[in-house]
Each structure stands twice: as C-alpha cells, then as structure tokens.
Amino acid sequence: MSSAQSEAFTNAPIDPPETPLPALTAKHGRSFWQIVSRSYFRRIKNQIATAYVVLLAVVAVIAPFIANGRPYTAVVDGKRVWPLFRMLSREDRIVLLAGVGFLLYLAVRFFTRKRPPETRTPVRRIALLILVVLGLVASGGIMWSMRHGDNNDLMTREDYKGITPDYDVQGAVFPPLSWGFQDSIYPQSPETQFADPSKEHWLGTDESSRDTLARLLWATRVVFGIGLISELISLAIGIVYGAFMGYFGGTVDILGSRFIELVESIPTLFLIITLVALLGREIYLIMIVLGLTGWTSIARFVRAEFYRLRKMDFVAAAHATGVPLTSILFRHMLPNGLTPILVNATFGIAGAVTIESSLSYLGLGVQPPRASWGSMLNAAGSPGGIFHFWAALAPGIMIFFTIFAYNIIGEGFRDAIDPRLNRLE
C-alpha cells in the first residue's frame, strides 16, 4: 500500500457505508496445500520433474505390457492362448493391483471433491460409477489370474514370432516393444552383443544380446520400488522415534539423541555393504536395509517439529480432553509438522536411488537377469575392461535424471512451503 493510499484510508470518514456489503460469493479461501501447490507448479522445472516421476511410476506399473517378448494373444496350433498374461509373476500382479487401486483412489478423490452446488451434474457420478466398476473388474481379473495363472510356458519369443518352426502360430498381437528384460537375440553372435543403436534395437543391446530399451523400462520397477518402499520404512521408523523423543523430551530425548548419533557415526555405505554381504543380495532385503539405515535424519526433523508443537494450545487441549497419547502424537501433532518431513523424504528417495544403483554397480545389489540401471552400467564397462559407450549411456542418463528429478521436487517443495525464502526472492 503506497503512502498516499494509506493516508486516504486513515483520513476516510468513519460513517457506516450507505450501501450494504456485497454478498459473499461462492469462492472459497485457498487452503495451505492449495497455496503450496500453486506456488510449486509455477516453476517450469518443478512441472517437468513431477511429470517425469509420474511417468516413471506409470512405466514401472505397466512395464510388462509395453516391453515383453510374449504376445498379448495368439492362436497356437489352433488354440487361443494369452501368453503375456500367463507369464506375469506374482509380483507383477501385486504391482498391477496396487496401480489399479491407486487409480481408483484418485478417481474417487477427483469426482467427489467439494464443488459449488450449481456445477454438480449427474454426469460425474455416472463417470465415477463406470470407472469404479471397471477398476473392480480389472482387480478381480488380476486376483483371479493370481490363482489360476502359471508360468509353465515352454514356448520362447522366437516360437511366437514364427522364427523357429516348432509351432503353428497365427495372429499374434505383440506389445509395442516385443522384447522382455531377459529375451536374447536368437541366434546370439559376437555381432549381436553390445550392438550400436539400430532400427530394431533403439538403444542397442547388452552383453547377452538383450534389448537395452526393454531392460531400461523394466528397471524402472526396481528404482521406483526401492525408492518408495525404503523411504516408507524410513518414514515409519523416523516418525515414531522422533515423535516420542520430541514429545517426552528429557531423558528419552537425550538417550534417543545419543542413539541417533551412534547410528550416524557409522558410515552408511560401509554399513550397507556389510549388511548386504551378510544377508544376501535379494531386492527386498536391500529395500529393508536402506530403510533401516536412512531414518535418522527424518527422526531429527520430526523431533524438532514435535518439540516445537508440544507447547502449543491444541496439544494441551487434546491432552485435557483425554485423547489417548498415540492419537495426540499421530493424529493431532503429526499433520501439523508433516511438511518438512515430506521434503526430507523426497531427498531421501534420491539418496536411496543413488545407493541402490551404486550397490547394483558393485555387484552387491540387484542380480541379473533382473534389470537394474546400476547393474546395466556395470555390464557396460567394468573397471579395466572395455567400456561400451552406448550400453552405458542410457542407464547412466536415466539414473541421473531420476535423482535429479527427485532433488528438484524436494527443493521446489521446500521453497514452496518456506515463506521466508519466497520473501527473499
């Protein structure tokens, strides 16, 4: 407000206004999350990074349907078969189920959000109904096939493609990329190994004549899964630990802080390679190990937030009305201190992706033939050996983009929720 304006304001007559105040419009005030998301999506780099991570998630869920050596359907020896669906493993089906469930959740949230009454139409309800029915049918199908599907398929990609003459295959419908993560070119020869990009293989092939693009797509599952699950474990441990430390303070706080210092004094990567070497190189174990070593920074943040919040009136009020302790901690206090924790978790995911790719690169992580960007890099050029530029380019760039995207999201989010930074810039 300029000085002239403020002067006019203070000198204005204080008589009651002649005309009544305009009626309140249907516009609602913006909530905290609306303000944050508006300020977040204003930056173009945040938009791109978010779109990239969403794309990563989508590819991770549908990878078997876009890169697979088995056709969706074909007529083999006069019988219609569905090889791709039969070949899905139990994990694939669980991932699919989770994907459908998440989409359904989003649809329900979208179609039932609060809107002014005059814009409500029955179309939305019908659309929601159709979507829910479709989703339920899809999950039902997946569940049914979990019990009835089996992996006893003796035919190879070449059989379905009609390259080998053992079967009579008619009308096979292949996915857009007809290579799976473990389909090698048949027959293999030195020329098909580490081939440069070509029309058939857009990103070339790897040491076992497998398609690099297909493996790249399948590896998104490892990266996305490890980032998500290990961070969820870290969050669970860190939030509970930090909440009790911050809320009780005193001896609990001192002892807890000592233990955090203790865990932090052990170099994380050394701890992780020791654990991985001893426990085995199973992908779920790596998720758990990463989760068990990454919670300390979250616990620190939660502790600081709870320490600040516990003096607030609403906590005292909840306490006075007899709300149980866990409810005070996790339903009243946690939502008020969640934002810095989420920022921290985003950086944590970037860290987990870095560590997973390093582990796989060192041969201690995801084991072949399962695809991981780190192990693809290792195959493309181990120390002292020949470095295959094309085979290393794609996984390297993907690791870089993924870590970069998570870091951009974390920073953008932090800037969006920190009003001090906004004021300064």
Binding site: L262, P267, S357, L362, P383, G384, I399, E425
Partner: protein, 336 residues
Amino acid sequence: MLQYIVRRLLLMVPTLIGMTLIVFMMARFAPGLTGGGQFGEGGGRNARENRELARVNLLKKLGMMDADGKELPLYYQYWRWLKGAATFQFGESVKYGEPVSKLIGNALPVTLTMNVIATLVVYGLALPGGMLAAVKRGKWFDEIWSFVTLALFSLPVIWIGNLAIFELAYSKNLAWFPAGNLHSADTRGFTWLQYSTDYLWHLVLPIAVSCLGGFAYLSKLMRASMISNMYEDYARTARAKGVSQFYVVVRHVLRNSLLPMITVFALVIPGLLGGSLVIEYIFNIPGMGQLGVTAAQSRDLPVLQALTFIGSLLSLICLLLADICYAIADPRVSYE
C-alpha cells in the same frame, strides 16, 4: 578449552561402546555365516560336511568358538573382539589369509590422502562459489548456478566416473590422464619429485569425480548461509553507517556464514569415505573402499567388521575436530 575437549572425549565413550556393539552384533547374528565355505575347503567327505567344517573354521577364526568346537558365551566373544579392536587386531582375512590390520594399514593412507585433498578442493571451490551466488541472488547467474549445482549433486558417480575414464583416459579417445591405479607401472629410477608428480597426476580424475557432489552440496549451503546472514541486524547496521557492500559481505557476513560450514565438516569426511567405495572400485585404487567392495563380494567378515569400525572411528574423530573448531571460531559456545 582443554576442559571442553576432555568433556567432549568422555562423551564419546558411550558412543564408541555402542558403535562397537552394533558392529559386533551385526556380524554375530548374520545368517551369512552358515553359508560360508569354499569348494573342498574344509576337507570333509561331502558338501554338507564341507560347509559345516568351513563354518566351524570361520567361527574359530572369528574367536567365537574355543578349540573343542564349543561356542563361547556372547559377552566373552564381545570382550575378545573389543580387546582386539582396541589394539587394531581384527584377526585374519578369510579371503587373503593375511592379518586384517596389515591390509588396512596398506589401504588407509591411500584413502586418507585422497580424502584430505578432496576436502581441501571441495572447500576451496565451494566457499567462493556459494559466496558469488549469494551476492548475485535472484539474478540469472544465481538461477543457473542453483540449477547446475543441483545437477552436479545428482550426477551418479558410477556413470560419470566411467565416462571420465572413457573420454579422458582411454587410449582411443583423449588419453590425457592415466586410467587407474596410483602410480605408473614402472616407477624405478623416479626421483622423489617425479614420483609425487606421477602420484598426483593419477589422483586428478578420481578426486575431480569424487568432489562433484560435495562441492555442490557445500556451495548450496554456503549460499543459504550467506543469504540468511545478509538480512541480520548487524549487516543492516553496517550498511546504514555507510560501509560499502563489498566490505559488508567480505568483512561481516562472510565470517559469520562460515560457522555452518565448520559443522558440516563432520559430515563431509564420512560422506567422502562412503563415496570412496565406488570411486576406488572404478579407478582401481587400492584403498579402503576397494578393500571393502572385494570383502563384501567375497563375504570377508573380519575385514568388513574392521572397515566399518575404522570408518566409524574416523567419523567420530571428524565430529570431535568439527566441534573443537566450532568452539574456537564461535566465542558464544561456552567451554563449560
């Protein structure tokens, strides 16, 4: 001051004991122990006996069993391990058959040299860089700088290291740098000066690659620290009494902005130590990291235990150093 250091050292004791407990327990309860045993190593009649004998051998080597094959009580095992660790005796390596202390004695100086140089480089570049970005805050230089440092921070070492070797040290491309190891294959007849130049020349690429992340992180921190200090009252006072912007930044703001950089020193060294795992593997440098990777690949338990122990010890020492430096730099920290 001395009192402060002594108090700080005493506080370290429980942490140290807890840390040794974790390192010891981790190995003690590892299911991996039961799977040990190379082909025909134990001298038994079949695979199962071989495995069992190998397990017993390993347990004996680790001091978990007495000569009769009876497992010792847990506290006694821990006590034996602790006694060994106190004098840096960690038993024999399963893979190399040599004392672990000797292996580490060879590897530690290499890693320490690398990390000390890397730390100097990181601080030397990050301080002016962050300062510049803070002074030009909000301008296009700062925008680009922020973006580039975030990109550097996100660059995966496993990729950029390999790429650097391929582009800059591969005989068919630019062969400017050696591709790995610490010195040339034939160093006979080198003078002292020649040898150290050769040594440093071999360290250029690994150190450059290992510095990227730390440099980006520190310069971001420096920028944030400078910016928050520029809005402090003392900076405004200085400006109000007519001190030029240059002197405000260099004389007043810079000094106070260095405090968080000292605190972070305790994190930089352990971070570089962890990073050396990958760097040393890629560049084939016989340091702690490479030792750790080969030990993990061959499940060499005593070596892994010792490495984790020494790594933790180093980071505790760094924490202590950082605290002491902080107490010296900031008179508000009380020594009592």
